[in-house]
Symmetry: C2
Subunit: 156 residues, 2 copies
Amino acid sequence: MEKTQSTLDELDFAILSCLQKDGRMSFTEIAEHLNVSVGTARTRLNRLIEDGVISIIGRVDPDKVGFKAYAHVAVYIRPATLKEQVAQTISKMPEVSFLASTSGDYDLEVDVMCPTNNDLVEFINEISTIEGIYQTKTTLYFKVYKYAQPDLNLLK
Amino acid sequence: MEKTQSTLDELDFAILSCLQKDGRMSFTEIAEHLNVSVGTARTRLNRLIEDGVISIIGRVDPDKVGFKAYAHVAVYIRPATLKEQVAQTISKMPEVSFLASTSGDYDLEVDVMCPTNNDLVEFINEISTIEGIYQTKTTLYFKVYKYAQPDLNLLK
DNA sequence: ACTACTATCTAAATAATTTTTAGTTTGCAC
DNA sequence: GTGCAAACTAAAAATTATTTAGATAGTAGT
C-alpha cells in the first residue's frame, strides 16, 4: 500500500506548472527555474507522477492525425441501476476519449473520436445495442477553440 | 514560412504511440523500441512537435489538485453572427478547459474547472453577461470514468 | 544516363542530463 | 539530549542528448 501525499506545497505546484507548459522539461532545467537541487526536483516530480497527481502524455492533434469526426454523445440509461455496468462497457471502447456520469437529463456523456463520419455512425449503432441504453443524442464538434490544462493559479 | 508535413508514415505513428504512453520516454528508448538510430528518433519527434501533431504536456488530475467542480456548459447565442466573437472572449478565461462550436441545439460547448461550486456559479454569472449569450445550461460531471488519448490503431 | 539537389538516415565524439550514493539539515518523539 | 525519519544537497558514475560529418536514396533537369 502506498501513502498518498495529502497536500501539495508551493514547490509541488511550481513543478506542476513547469510540466503543464513542457512535459519534457529536464529535471536540471526545472531545478534551475525553482532554485532547488536536481535531486529534489526529481524526487518531487517522480512522487507527483506516482501519486497520479500529474501524468506526462503526448497529446496528438486529432484532426492532424486523421480523426475527422469528433463528437459528443449523450447516453440515456434505463433502468438506472445499469449505469455502472454500461459505463464499464463503454470505457473499454477505443473510440472513447472521455466518459463521465452527469447531473443532466442524460446519464452518461461519451466523447468519441473516429476516423470518418461513417465510423462514428457505426460506433453509435454499436453502443445503442448495449443493454440499458435506451436512447442516445449525438452532437458533432465543428471547431475546437481551446483544449487546455486547468490554470493552477485559480487555486491560490 | 514552415512546410507542414502532409502525411505521417509508419515510423511517425509508432513514435506517437510511444509518447501517448509515456511523454518522458527518452530518444534512446524510443530508438531502441523502433529499431532506428537515436538521431532519427529525435529528428522525427522534434518535427512532430514543431508541426503541432503532438504536444507533450503534464496533465494534472483536477480533483487531486483541488478542482472540485467540473462542469459542461451549453451556451446559446443570438444573434448567431456573434458566435466567433463570443468564442474568442470565452477562450481567454482561465477556468475554461475546452471550448468548441457544435452541431447541437446550443452553439458553443464550454467545459469548466473551478476550485469550488461557488466559483462555478460565479463563472456562469460572468459569462451570462457577455454580449450575444442569451442562455446557458450547466451540467455537472459527477464521476469521470475515462479520459484518454485517441487510439491510433483505429486509423489503420 | 549523368549530375546536382534535397531529404533522410546513421554513427561516433562531445556535451549535457540523469541516477546513484553519501552526507547534511530539520523536525519530532521519547 | 538522543534517536529516528523525512527532505534536501552535492558530487561521482552512468546514461542520454546534441552535434557533426558522412552515407544512402529519391527526384528534377540536362
